[in-house]
């Protein structure tokens, strides 16, 4: 069975859930080989969880350069592995970095680029000669598209939360590979990092419930109403662009066309009008609940359950009800 390279998404040796989704998707095509690019000692921390999601091999590419430059070290490592292992496909997370890594890798290896897949299919059955088909959801979920690569090794970026991760036992046999020396004139050096400290809430793209607030929330202080409801559900908090632009909530929580795309079991919109660009990021949610004091707000056109009313009355009451229910 042919190898499928999976670029492991991690922050300082802490694995991201999307890696498990990538490993699961890779098993549709062939045998997953996890590729760890990081500072020395990283792979040792990750090996166990990679094995639990079916990584047959773990390529270990560790050096100080690996984390000293933006994007290019990962491209260098993957390009060398594509040549060496002739994989059936390369899968990376469709994050800001992952999309750029995939693009550069496809350009360098003369391959087809499939962007932001929410599913992977193999139309040839598993084994050699896999035909990799990426399922994509475009224009904010208005269209579902299937596409394939026409040349080289299919390079696919896969949307975090796009598919369900499933465990499988893998040998996770380690193999060390070189990190090619960085070419300083062609690379951007990382001189400092301020990672976002994840709070206690689940990540937006991973959460099964998302509670979002819009301009109707009125101020940063009053966003507490949104947070309290989110915490009652064990949900992630999101925000509209108007709420972000008004400084009510930080930009990384923006949902919509230019923010995150979420597809939770339940999406609760508080004081959000439902502009098309906001809908583009949340309309594939399974169930949508909206609270807005304007009966004409377009969010009601897509809400499964809508309440015309003041969010400051409705949300706290719902928080209490959910609290009772959860005990």
């Amino acid at each position: 069975m042919s190898e499928v390279l999976v670029l492991v998404d991690h922050v300082d040796g802490e694995i991201k859930k999307v890696t498990f989704e990538l490993l699961t998707a890779a098993r549709q095509i062939g045998e997953p080989s996890a590729v760890v690019v990081g500072s020395p000692g990283t792979a040792a921390k990750l090996k166990e969880s990679l094995a639990a999601y079916g990584a047959a091999k773990v390529y270990v590419a560790e050096s100080d350069d690996a984390t000293g430059y933006l994007v290019t070290p990962k491209v260098d490592v993957l390009a060398a592995l594509v040549e060496k292992a002739a994989p059936a496909a390369v899968l990376v997370a469709a994050t800001a970095d992952g999309k750029e890594i995939a693009g550069r890798l496809a350009a360098r290896t003369g391959s087809g680029l499939l962007v932001d897949a929410i599913g992977i299919e193999n139309t040839a059955g598993s084994g050699d000669g896999a035909v990799v088909v990426a399922v994509q959801s475009i224009f904010g979920g208005a269209f579902v598209v299937k596409s394939k690569s026409n040349k080289g090794t299919p390079i696919v970026s896969v949307r975090p939360g796009g598919l369900e991760a499933e465990q499988a036992q893998g040998a996770a046999a380690e193999e060390a590979v070189d990190v090619p020396a960085a070419d300083a004139a062609k690379s951007a050096r990382i001189t400092g990092q301020e990672p976002i400290v994840g709070g206690d809430r689940p990540e937006l793209t991973e959460a099964s419930v998302v509670v979002s607030g819009g301009r109707g929330v009125g101020s940063a202080e009053q966003f507490e109403v949104v947070e309290k409801l989110a915490d009652a559900f064990g949900a992630a908090v999101g925000a509209s662009r108007a709420a972000v632009d008004s400084g009510y909530y930080p930009p990384q929580f923006q949902v919509g066309q230019t923010g995150k795309t979420v597809s939770p079991q339940l999406y609760v919109a508080l004081g959000i009008s439902g502009a098309i660009q906001h809908r583009a990021g949340m309309q594939t949610s399974k169930t949508i609940v909206a609270v807005n004091k304007d009966a004409e707000a377009p969010i009601f056109e897509i809400a499964d359950f809508g309440v015309v009313g003041d969010l400051f009355a409705v949300a706290p009451q719902l928080t209490e009800e959910v609290g009772k229910r959860k005990g």
Partner: protein, 261 residues
């Protein structure tokens, strides 16, 4: 005095309905209103801010159908000096990689480029990869998703903001920068700017002018192709109630019935 190229793209207005054409699954550009992508206004703004502080020249570059001249004019009316427009029927249906190759070749037509500024992600394709691919093709460092750009002589510093947090980057020029949504507020073209834009030079090229064979671009030679495309049925509105003091309870009842709590 940096010589800056700003990459702009005309995209279907997100306020209008966007479709794929039935015949070949490419973006149906006729069916929607077309606008200069908002993120590119921010890219132009950033270039103008650098020019105002340090001098230099700002060239707008776009690869797209004839109609993209409207987007180019808008960028010129904001204050860019001149433009390059690559337009060729052979480009129809090109993939991200082919488009990037054409952009890279067109950048080569501008003398002594120090800095390329793009948007971080187009609202139509959302590939979020063109700036990085250009860096790959041109052999320039990439400083993407910038929320702050500082140029000192031949070196550039960028604060990059993504979901992971903030990364401080440093590189030497020439370089590729892409800007994020929070970098600046783009200016409105003034009346004077709009009038002046009409006289600014726009150089147009075909792919052959760029030394690229028409057979290398377009749908038939794209690195990937769409096998099938299906519109999703639009969502229908569900129940709606007015809050009579029990709105929260009503939602809870609905969620219980749906087994969501």
């Amino acid at each position: 005095m940096p010589n800056i190229v700003v990459l702009v793209k005309q995209v279907p207005d997100t306020y209008s309905e966007r479709k794929l054409s039935d015949s070949d699954h490419t973006l149906d550009r006729e069916s929607a209103d077309a606008v200069l992508d908002e993120i590119n206004e921010r890219a132009v703004e950033e270039a103008l801010l650098i020019k105002e502080a340090q001098g230099g020249e700002v060239t707008v570059l776009s690869v797209g159908p004839d109609r993209a001249t409207e987007a180019i004019r808008k960028a010129l009316s904001m204050g860019a000096d001149k433009a390059v427009h690559v337009s060729d029927p052979a480009l129809h249906g090109s993939c991200v990689l082919q488009t990037s190759k054409v952009i890279a070749a067109a950048i080569g037509k501008v003398d002594g480029v120090d800095l390329v500024i793009a948007g971080n992600e187009a609202t139509d394709g959302r590939s979020g990869a063109v700036p990085a691919i250009l860096a790959e093709l041109l052999g320039y460092p990439q400083l993407t998703h910038a929320r702050k750009v500082t140029i000192e002589g031949a070196s550039i510093k960028v604060e990059r903001e993504t979901d992971e947090g903030i990364t401080h980057l440093e590189a030497s020029l020439p370089a590729v920068v892409s800007v994020g949504e929070k970098i600046n507020e783009p200016r409105y073209p003034s009346f004077k700017g709009i009038m002046a834009a009409k006289k600014k030079p726009v150089e147009t090229f075909t792919v052959a002018d760029l030394g690229i064979d028409a057979g290398e671009v377009g749908l038939a030679n794209a690195s990937s192709s769409v096998l099938e495309a299906a519109p999703k049925p639009p969502r229908a509105a569900g129940q709606r109630v007015s809050d009579e003091g029990d709105g929260g309870v009503k939602i809870a009842e609905y969620l219980i019935a749906q087994k969501l709590i």
